[in-house]
Amino acid sequence: MIRKTLRCLMLAGTVLAAPLGASAQVLQVAVDQSPAGLDPHLVTAFSSFQIVNGPIYEGLTAVDAGLAVVPSLAASWTVSADGKTYTFSLQPGVRFHDGAPMEAADVIASFHRVMDKAIGSPLASRLATVTTMAAPDAHTVVLTLSEPTAPLLSALAGIAIVPRGMEANKDALQKQPDGTGPFMFKEWQPNGFILLAKNPHYWRAGLPKLDGVKFNIVPESATRQVGIGSGQYAMLPNIDPATALQLKGRPGVALQQTLELSYTLLGMNTSKPPFNDPRVREAVNYALDRGQMVTAALFGAGVPGGPLSPALTQWAVPTSAFPCYRTDPAKAKALLQAAGLTLPVAVTMTVLPRQDIKDIAQVAQAQMDKAGFKVTLRNVELGQFIQDWRNSNFEMFASANGGSVDPDDYFFRTFRTGGSTNVFKYSNPEVDTLLDQARGTVDQAARKAAYDKVQRVLACEGPVAHLAYAQLFTALRGNVHGFRIMANRSLAGLAETSVAP
């Protein structure tokens, strides 16, 4: 009887809600967080990043689904023999969403904007070695570097080209983006949705296939799941294994998956005891059972990982090559004793306030307690965590980091002496030399050899115990075609996406 009444009520609701049925060619996407702004040179939050980079803006280069660097707004480029001069030929016939043509002056203005201290773009360091920029004609850009910079091409994929005239304007693009991408900004109802419309003048012929994309802000996970089950939402991009597991096998819902570039880690402060001793850091690695972490905290949807994601097939050294990745509590205890410490060694681990990290921290605590440590978990609020992280105010922390396509982007700032995110105060002359060498050559084999060595050093005695790379999922309705999930979470694939009626 109650069920019947409910049904009646719901039917009444259906009648009310029926005229709302989404028009077929606007893709309804549900995301959990509202973007904090839309300026591609200023945003750092992932919620903003995925909407602007790819769908709205493009760089000179792009990264394809296999994580290789491919042409984008630059149709081709040449690099001088000394690796210090890059000449880009721009794609002809590209227009910004406001109709203005995209030319060399726009590219140079965009780079100036990123490098300008007053703008304060977090991307500035990626162009740190650029000394001069020239535009011999409207479709050629020449960059001269102070030293060879191998990661430049992959870094350029993340630097959006914006129209000239924005160099000193910090506000306009936050609210009203103007790029060259397949979709143009149409409407933003804060905390409600962001609506993008098809760019009719898009330079890649026949694209995009959709008439628009609507990013609905839906904070509650259960609501998103119900929404994709009912077909109200056609895509839940970049979801975690726990959510994906619940959607598996649901009628009308298809899952795509890839290995993440981002990873979970335990960070150690090498400027104070006990982690100033490399043997203690090695002991942590022997104490951990990464396979168990994947099973317990990631529901089996992931792989144990070293300093680089296994998704970076051209760079990553397999974990089987790291001796300390064998779980051996006895060996860990022996290392701690060799370091002159009395067991158990008490350490405090600050935990990033995110459910998967809390789970992983608990597993790590149990494993380390069996291997001569006594771990106390410290749960803090996000702002506090970031502050402590930034001020190196920790003994040890459990956290997650977004990964990079080029090893230099992660290693150089994180592990080189004095690096800008080297909060561990790690300093190893051997690693410094190797990182400098690899940055200064464009010879792929030489770079690979240097990074192989770096990974072997970092894996066992580095300031970070890399734990696992999770499987990343995107849920789609069965009638959504052409989208490809990417390890760096980019939604650039929306250009090729279509919805069958």
Partner: protein, 315 residues
């Protein structure tokens, strides 16, 4: 009338001033600052960049100076701009106010509106099985939190009517029927606990009133039972009810925050939660001030209602 109004308005000003000071201090004393979060955990950060950003946001000034600046601007109606989107704070609040007001009013109308007849029925059928059953249901309604109820409703909807697409929010002006269709579930989730507590209150107030001497007198002089119950008993029972509705409205705003999250409604709740997470000081300050002003205003209206309902408190 002025003897009542003037002191209440003065009180309102004092409360708003006090809240503005407390909120200003509180959000600056919680650990973690806007600049650290703004620059993010995974980007290139240098001390000079932090200092530059701090200067741009005015966070390098003494806290008293910051408050003076803010209060002076606020008095002139300028609440500053959101740290992240660069839009005027007032505009952001106005955009988010509508859905929350609508949700609160619907829930209040539903909860308080149904509580009166439900309470009367329970009081008149006191001790019978209907009264017993309704009391059990209301206890359940009191103990179930709205957000849980909301999630269960959404899941039930997905099971019973999988094709129904009624999540999210559309403005009333754009699509009145669609707006109401989507508001039914969140308003019901929010209204149920109110209905439960208020109907119990009406029941006991009614029982109390029905036991009074004036009711016996009314019956003795031969008035119809309908008149006795609704004119004499209910009118008196409504006074505690009105007080309770006033307080409930304040809690509704709090409950709406959680229910908005569940049903993806872009209201003040989402605005406040986002502002806290981002340490968006100007936005947070102004939003909390608006909610406080709302709370105080509701209590003010309740006081006025007393005057209308109860001749004894008229000056």
């Amino acid at each position: 009338m002025r003897r009542v109004l003037v002191p209440r308005l003065a009180e309102l000003a004092v409360v708003l001033f006090g809240v503005s000071v407390i909120v200003f201090l509180m959000i600056r004393l919680i650990p973690g600052d806007a600049v650290a979060i703004m620059l993010g955990a995974n980007t290139e950060v240098t001390p000079d960049r932090i200092a530059a950003l701090r200067g741009r946001l005015g966070l390098d000034q003494p806290i008293v100076v910051q408050y003076a600046h803010w209060a002076w601007a606020a008095l002139r109606g300028d609440f500053g701009t959101s740290l992240w989107t660069g839009r005027p704070v007032l505009q952001e609040i106005l955009e988010h106010l509508g859905p929350t007001l609508e949700l609160t009013l619907l829930a209040l109308g539903l909860g308080a509106g149904l509580a009166v007849p439900a309470g009367c029925v329970m009081a008149r059928l006191r001790g019978g099985w209907v009264d017993g059953a309704m009391r059990v249901v209301t206890v359940a309604g009191l103990t179930v939190p709205s957000f849980w109820l909301g999630i269960v409703m959404i899941l039930a909807l997905a099971t019973l009517a999988p094709a129904l697409q009624a999540l999210g929010y559309v403005p009333f002006s754009a699509d009145p029927l669609g707006n109401l269709g989507r508001m039914v579930l969140p308003a019901a989730a929010l209204a149920l606990p109110i209905l439960a507590s208020l109907s119990r209150l009406v029941r006991s107030a009614m029982l109390d009133a029905l036991g009074q001497d004036y009711i016996r007198t009314a019956r003795a002089k031969g008035l119809a039972e309908r008149v006795v119950v609704y004119r004499h008993a209910l009118a008196n029972a409504l006074i505690p009810f009105v007080t309770s509705v006033g307080i409930t409205t304040g809690y509704l705003l709090g409950g709406a925050i959680v229910v908005e999250q569940v049903f993806a409604i872009p209201g003040l709740g989402q605005l406040i939660l986002g502002a806290i997470a981002e340490r968006n000081y100007p936005l947070l300050q102004a939003t909390i001030l608006v909610v406080t002003a709302g709370f105080v205003a509701v209590n003010f209206v309740v006081d006025l209602l007393y005057l209308a309902l109860d001749p004894r408190v008229r000056p």
